[in-house]
Symmetry: C2
Subunit: 252 residues, 2 copies
């Protein structure tokens, strides 16, 4: 099996405590063939929207049958959305996996003056699978939401002209303030913006600034689009780390 801690599932929904049910085909396969859970074992599941349940495996083959033993709701103090220009090639694939592991809430691909997302439709199913795998792997109560690409100008036109109360907007830029000097927000809404591989245009940079995006420098070196997006998410996720560890154990 993979390096996932055993038995963490993503279920679109699960019934009330005490109820029995059959998970959908994907998760049933994952449970019986990958995790190889056996009757009597307990597994954990999340619906990707903050609900986490402890389940008992009643039957594992040929069909899978589970019972809900307990459930809890997990809240997030801080919610991170990333607006991301198109990286080169298929580099978004691993970016989505990593954003999912780090706990980013929303991945919003943006078309920009210098680069469009050309294969987002074709990659959609794969991206969704990667997000679900990241949820299982990181034992997260939340599933990364992958939005349809929109033009950056449309996103800006539909957003508030300045950040709302409790919202911070950040632009990954080598000309920005050093990340360690900018206290990462530990609550509220964070919207990060990362340029496509050829960079944002001058006009786009001006408009982002006018909409309250503060520049933040994430490394001394020039970073690729997907590296900058991951570095921004890492900076946010580190601040979002609770003083006491949440659950599970792993490399980090």
């Amino acid at each position: 099996m993979s390096d996932a801690a055993p038995g963490f599932l993503h279920l679109r929904a699960f019934p009330a405590v005490g109820q029995e049910f059959e998970p959908d085909a994907d998760e049933a396969h994952y449970l019986s063939r990958v995790v190889r859970a056996r009757p009597g074992e307990r597994v954990t599941a999340s619906d990707g929207r903050g609900a986490v349940a402890t389940l008992e495996v009643l039957v594992s083959r040929p069909e899978v049958r589970l019972r809900v033993l307990a459930r809890e709701s997990v809240t997030r103090a801080s919610v991170c959305t990333l607006l991301c220009g198109a990286p080169e090639g298929d580099r978004a694939d691993w970016l989505i996996e990593k954003l999912g592991e780090l706990g980013v809430a929303v991945f919003q691909p943006v078309h920009t003056a210098r680069a469009e997302w050309e294969r987002a439709d074709a990659r959609r199913e794969r991206w969704q699978r990667l997000a679900v795998a990241a949820l299982r792997q990181s034992r997260s109560a939340w599933l990364l939401e992958i939005r349809e690409p929109v033009a950056l100008s449309d996103w800006l036109a539909q957003s508030t002209p300045v950040p709302a109360e409790g919202e911070r907007r950040l632009l990954a830029s080598p000309a920005g303030a050093r990340a360690p000097d900018a206290a990462a927000p530990t609550q509220g809404v964070i919207v990060g913006a990362v340029g496509p591989s050829p960079g944002f245009s001058e006009d786009e940079l001006k408009r982002l600034q006018m909409h309250g995006f503060e520049s933040i420098a994430l490394a001394g070196n020039r970073l690729r689009t997907e590296t900058a997006a991951m570095a921004l998410a890492t900076w946010w996720a580190a601040a979002d780390t609770p003083a006491a560890p949440r659950r599970g154990a792993g490399p980090a």
Copy 2:
């Protein structure tokens, strides 16, 4: 061409200012076919060991001929070495690319009780190419040094029993201090340790602690090996960001 800013080469060596020379076949190909540099243009090159030169393209086809116009030496205030247990599958490939972009000095694969590096020999050439591409991409004066795998116990046996003056040792661990609360070192030597996909053994964790490795938590979620390694490098690289940007412009 790629999203690299035009014309940054990796040359094993270059002659004194004023001298002409022909770069080796790989870089000549990169310059003439990828960057498509033309006679009269200027390009930048680094030797991967801190020397950076401005070069004039004299001839670009069929052979490539360059002249050194200026050279400078770049120093590093902070040097980061990463000891890394084996991740799943070929996930080290992109990790090496990202560590190179972020400016990590040394990648040291370590065999551990629960996981060995099985394909390091077979991947070596590919890893070296990825490190060179990362140097070009990030316009770095330094090339990531990729070491042969060693047993963690051997590495520890050969290291000083406690960190040397100016050295800090850090272990990626969900049980550690929150990364934002631990001031990232901006000078000296940083040695990071990241467990393999099944994690370090209890015995290994004890020995790392005895050798002065401090635990640091990089995210609230459980992270895969390569994600934790990249998060640790990102935390270090953010602190290593100069107050004023170095050179070039890009997504970050």
